[in-house]
């Protein structure tokens, strides 16, 4: 009889251990799922930072080129910068309203209407400025939604300015 009780107790304890193990396993799976979401969010943020840094770099390099070449024809300078930007942003971002509604692709025409270039020379120093001005209503932008569940947004805000002095 003692053996039977011992066996039954052992069986009950094992059942409890199995149930507890299953619970821990389930929770671990849930945490791993969340961890994956967090990794995707980190990757999205990396992608966003790359877009921001590269956009800034392209504008800066092209603007510096224009300043070095003393290209005071601002329409031509703006066109060159916008062509480089269009090539980079094609497929990566969209022309949109500030509320995220798509207008179209960030074409040269869109960039021309939404940006301004100024190149001046004074006392031998060239001052150049590229501004993403947005439109007259300040309601257009270039943006991109990145991520899976945790969404980050790349956006060139109205008034974003790059200045160089050469």
């Amino acid at each position: 009889m003692k053996g039977f009780f011992g066996f039954a107790l052992c069986l009950a304890m094992m059942l409890i251990l199995v149930l507890f193990g299953t619970t821990i396993q389930k929770e671990q799976e849930q945490l791993e799922k969340i961890q994956n979401e967090l990794i995707i969010a980190e990757q999205a943020n990396k992608e966003k930072t790359l877009l921001e840094n590269n956009t800034d770099k392209i504008i800066k390099i092209k603007l510096t080129e224009q300043a070095e070449n003393k290209n005071f024809k601002t329409v031509k300078a703006q066109n060159e910068i916008n062509t480089a930007l269009e090539n980079y942003l094609k497929g990566k971002a969209i022309a949109a309203t500030i509320f995220g509604e798509k207008i179209g692709e960030p074409t040269k025409e869109f960039l021309k209407e939404n940006s301004n270039v100024m190149i001046l020379q004074t006392n031998g120093t060239v001052y150049a400025e590229y501004v993403f001005t947005s439109n007259a209503l300040k309601n257009t932008t270039i943006s991109s939604r990145i991520g899976n569940k945790i969404i980050t947004r790349f956006e060139i805000p109205a008034g974003h300015t790059t200045r160089i002095m050469n």
């Binding site: 107790l9 409890i16 149930l19 945490l31 969340i34 999205a44 921001e52 569940k149 945790i150 060139i156």
Partner: protein
């Protein structure tokens, strides 16, 4: 005499069974409480981790489902009288949707 022995043995056996069942039932209840507690803590950690990630990555929205309440810098998960919380690095609030204060970036 033999029949009384038998009855006593049966009673002892029944008492033993009752004791065993009671103990197993008690353990089962404790296990359920522990399971709920672990589940709530996991949910709170999950919500907190998502909010922290939104803050750290300047995220705009979270399109998944969360099952916790948010009070200032705490993600709280509750069921019955059991409550588990997880401290988050920023302030957030939840009404119909959760709002997380993130830092402006690239401006």
């Amino acid at each position: 005499m033999n029949s009384i022995d038998g009855i006593i043995a049966l009673c002892a056996l029944m008492a033993g069974f009752a004791l065993l069942l009671g103990a197993v039932n008690e353990q089962n209840n404790s296990l359920k409480e522990a399971t709920d507690s672990i589940n709530l803590k996991t949910t709170a950690i999950g919500c907190g981790a998502i909010i922290d990630s939104m803050f750290a990555n300047s995220a705009e929205t979270y399109e998944g489902k969360t099952e916790c309440t948010i009070e200032e810098n705490k993600a709280i998960s509750e069921k019955g009288i059991t409550t588990k919380s997880f401290e988050i690095i920023t302030n957030a609030r939840k009404e119909s949707i959760s709002e997380v204060e993130t830092l402006e970036h690239y401006r």
